[in-house]
Symmetry: C2
Subunit: 367 residues, 2 copies
Amino acid sequence: MVEPGDETVGRWLRELGPVALLRALTGQAAPPPDATPQRLAGCALRASGTDPAADLAAAARLGGRFVCPGDLEWPGQLDDLGDARPVGLWVRGRPSLRTWALRSVAVVGARACSDYGAHVAATLGAELAERGWTVVSGAAHGVDGAAHRGALAAGGATVAVLASGVDRPYPRAHAGLIERIAGQGLVVAELPPGAHPTRGRFILRNRVIAALTRGTVVVEAAYRSGSLVTARRAQRLGRFAMGVPGPVTSGLSAGVHELLRGEAVLVTDAAEVAELVGGIGDLAPERRGPLVDRDLLDPVTARVLEALSAQGGRDGRAVAREAGTSTDEAVARLHELLALGFVARRGDHWTLVHPACREGHARRGGP
Amino acid sequence: MVEPGDETVGRWLRELGPVALLRALTGQAAPPPDATPQRLAGCALRASGTDPAADLAAAARLGGRFVCPGDLEWPGQLDDLGDARPVGLWVRGRPSLRTWALRSVAVVGARACSDYGAHVAATLGAELAERGWTVVSGAAHGVDGAAHRGALAAGGATVAVLASGVDRPYPRAHAGLIERIAGQGLVVAELPPGAHPTRGRFILRNRVIAALTRGTVVVEAAYRSGSLVTARRAQRLGRFAMGVPGPVTSGLSAGVHELLRGEAVLVTDAAEVAELVGGIGDLAPERRGPLVDRDLLDPVTARVLEALSAQGGRDGRAVAREAGTSTDEAVARLHELLALGFVARRGDHWTLVHPACREGHARRGGP
């Protein structure tokens, strides 16, 4: 019934809760005191065109679901958006959005990027994924697509946040890529199935990318590029804004350089990104205990953890065989377990993070 | 008698003064109390090989001179080096080193630079010179040479600080370039005529470049490059350290990026450099009154100022004709007058900075 990022409706939602607000906006109860007739008419018009049951069915046909605040899978960091927080997110893919987003970085940039930009984005995507980071981007041409492809090629975790419905891959030329992301990772949209992207929706989509991740890396952006908006939004949300420099003779790096002359941090590779957003260096997951109790894991994830021997490492296929899941399913769960601090990854090789080993780290770090 | 940057001898020089120190080191007076026999023997050995009169004659044959602390031409900012301050500098060229150094920026970088680095250095040299900045560098292959050539091509002011004597152009392939710099600008050396460069002397030369200028821009530098040492030295001296980014795929930009991840400022063109080191923007010289009283100008400089009509602009050749000097001489003096705030420059076009116009600026900037 509302466009993404509508802060007035966001405030009503916060004040009244979803059920009372729906009644208030559809004439079943008194409208919010500060609602103008024009706005109420707009909501009523849009409400007449919605069919939530059909939306849920459309998403379900693609293996999707609707996740909203209060759900176990809701990424709590989106609450930092305040009243511009999404009402909910449509999600396609096996892993838990909440868990994957715990250890995620956005890689964004120019659609019409140079070969240099595409190379850097793909390398960054692959190497961040290798290090156990979830690569979040917008599935656009250029930098976005290269970052997703890099992460996929490394067998890593990647999330595409669309400005359209999860059943409306955009750009069309990336339909295959978006399908692969839905298979190996997650495709997320704020708008319901069937929704088409508009200029305004791209900009509002960017706030979700900024809020979902620990930091945003801009790889090539001309002056006034939307990627710069994402990075600055990330910064205002207390996330890290990062930029990859390029030749000063390239207009496609001019926006990034402008960003770097402000508060953003210059990064040249995945190690530097991971060091910054990881806070305590790239060894962070190994040095930390699990973030949640083992008993709180969902049954499939727990089975995958069970399947991973403490004695040695295994690849995703071997874990899948042992756990009785598909390889994609097992790898998705392993990435969750990685984000939660239960397992470590070296390329295709997964190992259990042994409590004794963690203690050893703690002892060495102690007085 | 001593190598550049010898802080022990520098301290003795500060404590005793030059005449007493010379007597103390040559056995004509008691040696400094903390002088070891070994050090005294070293000084005596080197003293036996020096011939100051011959050095002065060799410099004079090239139109050179020796400038030391207390001289009118001594650039006072070198005193920031403390006991590592040069004992003096050998100078070739018409302009006043002190005046030219007032508004100077160092542009340094890799010897084996890429085409990109050479292009950026030449453009930066030319555009800084166009803006009335003196471009200081080390006359080396690669970035240094490109920066000097850019400044020369723009008819601007440039200073080469050598690690050898002013009569020993190094590298040999740059003998022609160094000769052109001596003709249009200044060639400066801490070591006396006849001295050859060594690895250590290059590093010690860099401290003079860092101290002489308001800031150091590094254009391409691999890890552990000497240019990074210059920039970090500049920073410790309270000058600006700046770096020009490049592709992260280029090892020749890796050192610059490392610098930029520290405290150095990312710059992409001359306007950004000038804005930073100029403090109050690129219009600084026009907005400020002259730095010294007109009566304190040396006679030739005063004649050149006289020759410049307040009514309109003139090029260097016209000013030279009017002042009865060579064009190189006139342009050198005009650059001094520029640094001192008497004149402004747009390309080849020189104009008097009119007092009324300066007042106008002041009024506009006032409350």
